[in-house]
């Protein structure tokens, strides 16, 4: 007997619930990871064009 049939007559409701939760959690993880990459890339581009934060400039002077 497969796991799906062991869930009885309401298997579709149970499986849909778990799939939906899995999809939304995966979407949140992907969204957070992509946002991180985008922000880091934009920061790198800005710093490469000579725009730096004041704290970075100060630490550069002191070193």
């Amino acid at each position: 007997m497969s796991f799906f049939t062991s869930l009885g007559p309401y298997a579709s409701f149970i499986v849909t619930s778990y799939l939906l939760v899995g999809f939304v959690v995966a979407a949140l993880i992907v969204w957070v990871a992509l946002d991180f990459r985008r922000q880091k890339q934009t920061l790198r581009d800005l710093e490469a064009s000579g725009i730096t934060r004041r704290s970075a400039q100060n630490s550069g002077k002191s070193s």
Binding site: L28, A33, L46
Partner: protein, 243 residues
């Protein structure tokens, strides 16, 4: 490192870089254990196998309220101490809270159809959670509508604290009104009424989802700190170009 040191965004970024891999690994392991325990749990004598939906519905329902609690504490940090990291914490939590509330609503609906005979009932618990979901969307819209982050933070903080009145309404709605939704069976005076065969998988899943929120919240806060740095540099760039 003292607690107040973490309020410094640079130190916060360093901390998240160290902590996030461990948190993500612990969350993954606990989720795997929780899912296995949920799959192996016996059928309930009344609900049958649909009791398995509870193992994902209840953690999401708890988190839907807990995240608003986190936002309320952050709102106090914004209004009382005017700390930018409190703004960041509140803003990063809102989409996560909205997602958990959405999942709580959909899973109760998918459980309700076979058990109650309906996907939806306008009872006090379901309606108050739907209002919570709409409030999350409202907070997210407010953050996007106001360009200045500190002004948006103050407006969102006031709305968050006003909306916090809905949390005890949700919690006690099953006691105050005659609802289709069942009463509390885990966090209640006199202890849980649930059998250990269901309670243990439920608690493991609750801890796993709480850690999932903590991991995603720290990661989203890190992203928001970086976004503000980007915004600051872009303003510097624009002022240089204008000069």
């Amino acid at each position: 490192m003292s607690f107040i040191d973490l309020a410094n965004p640079t130190r916060f970024l360093a901390l998240t870089a160290r902590v996030l891999p461990w948190l993500a690994a612990t969350t993954t392991i606990l989720l795997a254990i929780g899912l296995y325990q949920s799959a192996m749990a016996p059928d309930d004598y009344q609900q049958g196998a649909t009791v398995k939906i509870m193992f994902i519905h209840v953690p999401n329902a708890w988190l839907s309220m807990f995240v608003w609690g986190v936002m309320s504490v952050a709102a106090l940090g914004t209004l009382v101490w005017r700390h930018p990291l409190a703004d960041v914490a509140a803003k990063a939590a809102a989409p996560l809270g909205a997602a958990f509330t959405f999942l709580a609503l959909v899973t109760v609906s998918l459980w309700g159809r076979p058990m109650w005979g309906t996907y939806w009932e306008w009872d006090a618990r379901l309606t108050s959670v739907l209002i919570l979901f709409l409030m999350y969307l409202g907070i997210m819209a407010l953050w996007r509508a106001v360009e200045d982050p500190s002004r948006a933070a103050r407006a969102a903080a006031i709305l968050t604290l006003v909306g916090a009145i809905n949390i005890p309404i949700i919690k006690f709605s099953v006691d105050w009104w005659n609802t289709l939704h069942q009463g509390a069976s885990v966090i209640r005076a006199g202890g849980p009424t649930m059998d250990r065969a269901f309670l243990i998988p439920l608690l493991i899943m609750a801890v796993a989802f709480s850690l999932l929120f903590l991991t995603l919240h720290l990661a989203a806060m890190r992203n928001e700190v970086l976004r503000r740095r980007v915004r600051s540099l872009q303003m510097t760039q624009a002022s240089r170009q204008a000069a």
